[in-house]
């Protein structure tokens, strides 16, 4: 057995009781509220049920730690709307904003529920027939962008406020220092999309921009697809190392959420989980140390939409300068994005077989 003197030597510094602090997690839930899709689903699952189940999921996230936060966004057919937290409004009285406390629920849960259902009712009543007729899909790219901006804002506010001298800042523990080098400082964020609509090729570029922004900040986009074929979200999950689940039984939504989309924050470290006498603080490979095996992605549809007519295409033309995709040769061989003059060569000629 080593003597205590052996424990301290020049090469191994004592690391024992350094301050441990948890990084808050922010869960952004995007609920696709496309009226057409929900009316098609109405026999199996109503929007109200789905939202109630999504709230159980967000409550479980909030229950994990006091510092955890959620945001909930509706992706409607013509716009994306905040359900929680709601932007401050000019003409509401403070009374209506506060839910009555019953003593049956945790105050924060009541607040979120109240806010979500009030905003949702407003959204539904404001939707006109023309809005529904105008499109068959949903504003997923707008909702993703809203979620990302909110995450970014929260992260900034956290780092600056912590930076101002609050004890137990995000960078005290040994783990956070290592993990916050890329991605967002001081915040674990993830986005969960409840999808019911097909992807709209018209939103290909905007969606992909949002997805790359998320991938850059290491924010996983998880998708629970209840209906339809959200090609771009499938790609989003693939690119951001998210989880994509296609729900075969939409009624079981709460199980899909609680079980399938159950993930630990990436900064979660084994050292805190295991006994102190075990020093193998190994981190799980590329997944940032989560001890969970994630469900395998099904075959991802990688097809892109062209930049000229927003068609989803298998084969197309690519600008050799800016890599824009076109379904047909642009007029006069000029790239629509970067205006480069392109030469087609002898397109369509038979290949020479030697």
């Amino acid at each position: 057995m080593p003597t205590p003197q052996d424990v301290v030597d020049a090469s191994v510094h004592y690391q024992g009781e350094q301050t441990q602090s948890t990084i808050p997690s922010l869960l952004s839930v995007i609920i696709d509220t496309n009226p057409r899709a929900w009316s098609a689903l109405n026999n199996t699952l109503t929007l109200t049920q789905a939202v109630a189940n999504a709230l159980v999921f967000t409550n479980a996230h909030l229950a994990g730690d006091n510092a955890n936060e959620v945001s909930i966004i509706a992706a409607h057919c013509n716009r994306a709307v905040w359900l929680y937290p709601t932007p401050p409004r000019r003409n509401t009285n403070a009374e209506a904003a506060q839910p009555p406390l019953t003593g049956n629920e945790f105050p924060k849960f009541a607040e979120i529920k109240h806010s979500v259902f009030t905003s949702l009712r407003e959204l539904v009543s404001e939707t006109t027939e023309a809005d529904i007729k105008s499109t068959t899909t949903t504003q997923i790219s707008g909702a993703l962008t809203l979620a990302l901006t909110h995450i970014n804002k929260t992260s900034i506010s956290l780092t600056t406020s912590r930076g101002a001298g609050y004890g137990g800042g995000p960078t005290t523990g040994s783990g956070p220092v290592a993990t916050s080098t890329d991605g967002l400082p001081g915040l674990n964020a993830r986005i969960v999309v409840l999808s019911v609509s097909d992807s709209n090729p018209a939103q290909y570029i905007t969606t992909m921009n949002a997805v790359f922004a998320a991938a850059h900040s290491q924010i996983p986009i998880d998708t629970l697809c209840l209906r339809g074929n959200p090609t771009f979200l499938q790609q989003a999950s693939y690119l951001t190392r998210g989880i994509f689940i296609r729900a075969k039984e939409p009624q079981g939504i709460v199980q899909y959420l609680m079980l399938g989309l159950n993930r630990l924050p990436p900064s979660f470290e084994f050292a805190s989980e295991t006994s102190p006498n075990e020093s193998s603080g190994k981190k799980g490979g590329g997944r940032g140390g989560t001890p969970f095996l994630l469900p395998n992605a099904e075959l991802v549809d990688f097809r892109a939409a062209c930049f000229c007519h927003r068609r989803v295409i298998d084969t197309g033309f690519v600008c050799s300068v800016c890599l824009s995709i076109f379904c047909e040769v642009p007029s006069e061989g000029e790239c629509l994005t970067c205006k480069s003059k392109l030469q087609l060569g002898n397109y369509g000629a038979r290949p020479v077989v030697a």
């Binding site: 049956n104 001298g165 609050y166 295991t274």
Partner: protein
Amino acid sequence: MAYQAEPSYQLSDYLEKLSGATLRKLYLQPSTSFAIFRQILSPLAQSFVQALLCMPGPIPVSKLDVWVRPDSRRARDYALATLRSLSIVQITGHGKGNPNVVQLSTNFQKSLRRALESGGDHRTFGIPSTSPVDAEITIDSLDKYSTKKWEEILHYVVNSVGGLDDGGSTGAHRSGPAPSVKRLLLEGHLVKARPGTNRMGITKPGFTFLLQKTNAQVWTLLLLWLDMAERAERASGSSSPSVDMLSFLFMLASLQLGRPYDADALTEARRNMLPALIDFGLIYINPRMPRQYYPTRLVTTLTSSISPLRSVSSGFSAIAAGTSDDVSSLGGVSKPSSRQEGIIVETNNRIYAYTRSPLQIAVLSLFTNLESYYPGLVSARLTRESIRRAISFGITADQIISYLGSHAHQEMRNFARDRMIAAVLPPTVVDQIKLWQLENDRITATPGFLFKDFENPDEYLAIANYADEVGVSAWRDDARQMFFAKKHEPIRDFMKSRKKASE
């Protein structure tokens, strides 16, 4: 040096000692299950509970293997062992051949689901008062009130340190905590009467108490209080009230800061607890409206990882400064206090503490030599003598290091972050403090249980490996086939299930 196991006043240890039946009774209340989920369980254990929550029936334990990466088995076993010891999950086997199955215990599952679904009519999250509200009571005033109360208690403990000039330097403003709190501190052996005088002296657990985070301090006092109440009840022969008391505390922890709650809606037993909680500063009752009680930040953050008032050091004055409007955007995260607060430790063992709090200065003086005072700044020096003095009081090096680390100045954190170093404190200083302690303290004691005389090597290996995996093993000697474990409950369970499986 005499080593004895000191009673632990950490919530998780306390709960693990309760019997399964008591725990199951506790879990009947949704707010309790919710609070335990939030406070005690590690992220992995929380994930397990979350996943099992919506399972209609038991699932085979082997299914868990599918979720968890193969190299995380230890983490999984450890999480499961915690869940079992708290009677949150049940693992049952049906003899040989049939796989063991795991499920949440019924009460816990029901309660937590109700808490998360925010349904039902159980009213365990506190009944708000409908009477008119006194506009003077704001979150600010509640914070000031609880801070003052808690500071009084800590001052009482700090001032009882021997050899320090108390009274004069640390503020003559003290009226001290309520007599009941003084008695509690004495009974809990956080302070003890110094022989020959009528003054109090701090004890080793007292130092531990002092250097903890505020949250842990509150729990320590509350559990001491529960213990005391239980002893008193047992002496008078009535049944143990601790389950109800604990449930009440968990309920208080889920209340909303700044709202009045209805005292009349409480049971009589719970109403009787209010005066004691007022003495701790956990709740506030306006003398003009005795039927309303307000929870303070001390109690509403009982089940959170974020320190409510920042710990001893943090310059309590900071609290009053700006924590009122943080509820709006990011609920749990307290707003920053003044930019200047904190301790800077230099590699030459010098310490600069930017603080105005007499309490923090008093705590620092326990283990440093104070050199000079300036307005808002104290400079001090860590020396061999100062550390040895602290150790003779019963303070450990770990406590000093964690204290300095958790109260480090933001500049030190930034410095460490910019250089991508995990340690905030200079490693030389940390090592030196450890070495100074080792000069007179060459033994570490681990209370526990020795397991030996196994029937065969296989049995030894299986059990010793299991002890390793769940993290209770402190030492093992494979040649002599014995090992030493810090806890015996998980091993006992494991041996039982092993025996059952082999039948």
